[in-house]
């Protein structure tokens, strides 16, 4: 047994049986961080002291018989979720020195479970990107091939889990930012239904699309973390007051009676042959497990999702990022008496290229004369995309697609070509537009590089996609492979 490779449920069993202490587990992860961090650069902040003091407390809780499945288990948090007293940078110069005075709801919930926070993960600046190359600090490297990207924007979170720097991580997903890096790093990543998990304390990117979710080593862990973070929160007016089930109860290996659809629009332009081969094999496996599969489902508005997303998300971002004015917190240009010059230079030097590009795109789409042609039009097509999913879900329990049309690409390959970069999210962003839950899980390898499979559920249908994911996982061993690094 290698300690840093344990899953949550394995570590929990050992902690409960007192065969392992939280301090030992935490030290194993901290040692792993020392070992791999110089090669992969997944973390922006390492919280050694906090982690060890939380681990000691967790061991006391466990000795007292008070143990939650996450008690004493090390976690890494994407650096766009507020952690009280710990820098929260969004991998941006703008927030490089920002120390939040409060915890995000998800962080508070994990702390209440006795979690051990071991660090904050690198990301594309303000979660805008698909490769973690848009971090203002440094790019993160894919542990399966360090010359390639880990995906993004939650690249640091995915790499931390794949390498065992922590047992699990939290990420955020606006257009694929949990699922695409999960697919690129061969871990499990879930974007819950919009409204399922509180966004309070998540630094806003696109408020109608953002959602927090887990990145884990397997599906059981995913259900455990979702149990801990889901639920209504009166501090987020878009969190829904629905009851949350115990997600670990839906994990069964029998798929009899389930109807699964394969939307053909997700299997076209730009898809690599090895990805398509792996996906077709995975879907056949689901048929063997008892699912009825329709290979010819059509969602004809899918090709418009990219434009809809890249109008709506930057528009919301341009409004959300207007708050960075250098007055209340964050970077502030000082060398002038003019308020306008201070504002413009604060934002010029505080934001990186991709953030500026999206602010410009969003401001343009919302500006006088263009609003109807871009923003309103995109919102209308958004309605059509959602309706199309609703119709599909009247027949199917889940839909299945690749997570990304390609295996991880090379660092530098797309960073200067925004449209090519945007296209790497083409399979994941329709799901945020419609507000649906979706999970990415390991489904094979092409030339040694991970391939992810995406399962999409109906609104608040996380249980069904977890069930399908679990059945597939138990019938395969992709999730047991670890990168040699």
């Amino acid at each position: 047994m290698i300690t840093h490779q344990l899953t949550i449920h394995e570590a929990h069993r050992l902690l409960k049986a007192r065969q392992l202490s939280s301090v030992e587990l935490t030290k194993a992860c901290l040692e792993r961080i020392q070992e791999v961090e110089p090669k992969i650069h997944a973390l922006v902040t390492i919280t050694n002291e906090l982690a060890l003091s939380q681990a000691k407390k967790a061991d006391q809780l466990i000795t007292g018989g008070d143990i939650h499945p996450l008690t004493g288990i090390p976690v890494i948090i994407k650096d766009n979720m507020c952690t009280k007293g710990i820098p929260t940078t969004c991998s941006s110069r703008m927030l490089q020195n920002f120390v939040p005075p409060y915890d995000a709801t998800v962080v508070e919930k994990l702390n209440n479970c006795g979690a051990v926070i071991i660090g904050k993960a690198n990301m594309d600046e303000f979660a805008m990107g698909s490769s973690t190359e848009h971090s203002a600090f440094f790019p993160t490297h894919n542990p399966w091939d360090p010359s390639r990207v880990p995906g993004g924007s939650s690249g640091g979170s995915a790499v931390a889990v794949a390498t065992g720097e922590a047992v699990y991580a939290l990420g955020s997903d606006t257009g694929g930012s949990i699922r695409q890096p999960a697919g690129f790093c061969s871990v499990v990543g879930l974007k819950p239904t919009y409204g399922r998990v509180s966004r309070y304390g998540l630094v806003a990117f696109a408020s109608s699309l953002d959602q927090i979710g887990p990145l884990t080593k397997d599906v059981t862990d995913c259900a455990i973390v979702l149990n801990a973070i889901a639920g209504y929160d009166n501090r987020d007016s878009t969190s829904v007051p629905y009851p949350t089930p115990d997600y670990t109860q839906c994990l069964t290996t029998d798929l009899k009676g389930l109807n699964i659809g394969v939307p053909k629009e997700y299997f076209v332009t730009g898809m690599q042959a090895e990805v398509e081969t792996a996906l077709r094999a995975a879907i056949s496996k689901l048929e063997q497990l008892g699912a009825r599969v329709d290979w010819e489902v059509s969602l004809p508005h899918t090709p418009y999702a990219l434009a809809v997303y890249y109008i709506i998300a930057p528009s919301e971002a341009s409004a959300n990022l207007a708050r960075y004015d250098g007055v209340k917190y964050g970077f502030s240009y000082q060398d002038t008496d003019s308020i306008w010059e201070a504002l413009e230079k604060t934002r010029q030097f505080g934001f990186g290229d991709e953030v500026k590009r999206r602010i410009m795109l969003g401001t343009y789409a919302l500006s006088a004369g263009y609003y109807d042609a871009y923003y309103l039009k995109a919102q209308k097509v958004r309605t059509l995309i959602r309706q199309e999913f609703d119709q599909a879900f009247s027949k199917f329990d889940a839909l299945i697609t690749p997570t990304s049309p390609t295996v991880p690409f090379k660092i530098g390959e797309k960073v200067d070509d925004p449209l090519q970069m945007y296209l790497s999210d083409v399979c994941t962003l329709p799901i945020n537009i419609a507000g649906l839950p979706a999970i990415s899980m390991p489904a094979g390898f092409g030339n040694g590089l991970p391939i992810g499979m995406q399962l999409i559920g109906k609104p608040f249908g996380e249980e069904t996609i977890l069930r399908v994911a679990y059945a597939y996982e138990q019938a395969t061993d992709w999730h047991k492979r670890r990168p040699q690094i």
């Binding site: 010029q348 097509v381 309605t383």
Partner: protein, 122 residues
């Protein structure tokens, strides 16, 4: 100065009509003034190199998005968000808030118990 700005704003507001002929024409590449106009709306300082790069990149991206105009959306209502919640209000209850020292802790410039800002009127 103010007069010139207003005239410029009016010209910019009319540009979409010139550009599209009521949304039917081909999009042309953004010009330098348009990029500067958008940057000013966003209060975003840009270098000359950034302006040139953004002209190219934004034009490219917008050209790709023209495909949206082909979708028939007559009688389709817009969707602003995906969940069936409306008019969420909170109870009018007294609750704790952050102490002033913590609220001001991240302020780049402060003056006693205030955020310090530059003069708005020049």
């Amino acid at each position: 100065m103010g007069e010139k700005r207003r005239l410029n704003d009016l010209r910019m507001a009319l540009l979409p009509i010139l550009r599209y002929g009521w949304y039917n024409g081909q999009i042309m590449k953004l010009n330098r003034e348009e990029v500067l106009h958008i940057a000013r709306l966003a209060r975003l300082g840009l270098t000359d190199a950034e302006i040139n790069r953004l002209r190219e990149q934004l034009s490219d991206i917008l050209e790709n998005f023209e495909a949206l105009q082909q979708v028939d959306t007559s009688n389709v209502p817009p969707t602003a968000q995906s969940i069936p919640l409306q008019n969420v209000t909170r109870g009018d209850e007294v609750a704790d808030s952050l102490p002033q020292s913590q609220v001001l802790a991240n302020a780049p410039r402060k003056d006693g118990e205030y955020f310090r800002v530059r003069a708005v009127l020049e």
